[in-house]
């Protein structure tokens, strides 16, 4: 796909191009939004808000970077704003100072599918969920996460470690249950 032309046409407010851009990125971006929320409806709200921002700010996009990454950043920022704005999430987004949790190195994620991992991530408490998404998947450093969420990088580290160990234990349990189902409990 010729992103350069697509962006150009979108900037000219061509409806076909705008729809094409949306259709091309909507699914992957909804996957991103989904990981930050507890319901698909909230994820779609973020997706909608994010794409409106994308179209309004498309002139700021320079063609030197990847369009998908640029849109993804907008989606993540929109998701964080949504979490801060939405009371249901905001009230659960507390970050108590915790000791670093020992890192569990077992790689259980390999045996799960993307959807299953996403569902487990979504079961994390909102604070853990957000930090895990930002660090493990989006690749933000703890310093950056601290700036984004208004917390210290130490808190981000400890929260991440806690989230990670929680997730790994869930994945282990989940994969065990899955094996039992597969082999009939044998």
């Amino acid at each position: 796909m010729d992103y350069h032309k697509l962006v150009k046409d979108c900037l000219r407010n061509k409806p076909e191009a705008q729809r094409q851009l949306y259709e091309h990125f909507a699914e992957i971006m909804l996957g991103v939004c989904y990981r930050y929320t507890k319901s698909i409806r909230d994820a779609e709200d973020i997706l909608q808000e994010g794409f409106v921002k994308v179209f309004f700010n498309l002139k700021q996009y320079r063609n030197d970077g990847e369009l998908g990454a640029w849109i993804r950043r907008i989606m993540v920022t929109t998701a964080l704003n949504f979490l801060k704005r939405n009371r249901n999430y905001r009230d659960q987004m507390y970050f108590p100072p915790e000791h670093l949790h020992p890192v569990i190195n077992e790689d259980a994620s390999a045996i799960l599918e993307a959807k299953e991992i996403a569902e487990l991530i979504r079961q994390l408490p909102p604070g853990y969920q957000t930090i895990f998404n930002l660090h493990a998947i989006e690749g933000y450093s703890h310093v950056e996460i601290g700036e984004l969420l208004g917390i210290t990088d130490g808190t981000s580290r400890s929260q991440y470690a806690r989230a990670r160990s929680l997730l790994i234990s869930w994945i282990q349990n989940y994969s065990l249950d899955k094996k039992k189902e597969t082999y009939g409990g044998k």
């Binding site: 076909e16 729809r19 259709e23 909804l30 996957g31 991992i117 493990a136 998947i137």
Partner: protein, 484 residues
Amino acid sequence: MAANEFEKNVRREMDEFKLHPSGEVWPKIEERIREKDRKRRILFFILFSSIALMLAGYGIYNFSGNNRKSEAQHKLSEDNNQADKNKIDNSKNEELNKGTVAIKQTIPLENTEQANKTLLVGKQKQMHQPHKEDGFLRPIPRKDPGSQDQITVNIDPAEKENYIKSDKTNQETTNVSSSNRQQVITDTAQREVAKPNDKNLALNNTTGSKLEEPTDTRPVQVMNKKKEDKVSNKITWGLGLSAGTSVITEDAFSFKSSYAAADRQYNVPGSSQNGGNPATGGGGSGGPTTYYRYAQSQNEPAFAFKAGIHARKTISKRSSLSAGLGYSYLADKIKVGATQGQGQTQSAFSLSYYSGSPQQTFTDHFHFLEFPLSYNWRVTNNADHFLSLNAGVSPSYLLATNALLYDTAAGGVYYHNKDLITRTHLNFISGISYQFKNKNSLEFSIGPQFSFDITKAFKSDLDKRKYFLYTGIGASVLFDNKKK
């Protein structure tokens, strides 16, 4: 390593993680994008209208002020004989001249006697002339605009005779003293004239202007200007032609064509329609039926033109009204499928209809008879070549059309039904034109023209197209019979 492995795996899995959004998301996004465009357009429209109104208000204000003066002057001319008339004209011109400058005369000491004599003969002059106090001009009470008529009717014929005599004396005196006279021009004394209750005001003004004539040419200039400002009441006729493009827009005050999704097949789940798919067939059995429907094609602008005759009546030195009768050809292009012939299906479509698949371009032709009425306002000062703003309304009547309407039935079709096409329309028209005259009393104008229909083109809500928009370049010629 293993720790990084976990993050890598999760990231890899998540990069591939996709979810299909529901069908509600895109329409909401689209609505918000268009809403911003619409707001921008409305803001632009309000801004443009405000500027146009301010300009028009300014023009009307100026025009009405000049008109009052012209009427008063005209009355004076009628009331007085020919000899007086010239003097009074000068007097009034001087008054007008005070709109921009006031002239103060100072007489040197050696001419004091003569000056005093002059002032005694026409003692009113003292009242007329600005007083000098401590080197500054004393303000004279502002003249009531409505008092000019009073001045005119209070002139007594007996006094008029005296005035003529005294005026002659003044002239003699002035001839002696004019060489030594100095003129002091001050802008601070703008529009400062004598008291309105002085019945000899006009006479004094006349003597005053007589004094100024030898050295000051401005009264003459003002007279010329008055001639130019004189509003001609006659009607001039003209021919006009305009060519450009037209389209049927979806939104009010939009400059875009209808943005119905172009040439796209839509998957419409769970529909109860039995239309099925004109191209690929319906969905599987069981559960909600999935079928395909051709959405309405995006329409595109097409060539259009307008021609007609019009009459113009000047209503002030800067503004005029135009009314006319014209023919207007508008069109727009859509994409339709193959014709399905006559009477195959769909009794609602009385004649042949076209499938919704975008295979060929079809041009909708519309032939209108229109009656444009517009207000024209000259922006620039030069009366021989100038810019003019035009705005008005144009009722029109649809004479004939071959337009196809869209309907969602049978998977999306286009059909012709004249009962669903609006016949009478009302358009807003506006434009900017550059106008100039040639030596043969012909007046030409050229410039962009806009016409926006505020009546819906079709009575069917299934067709997204709503309002005609025409943009073009117009040229016209006016036949002015006035000999130069």
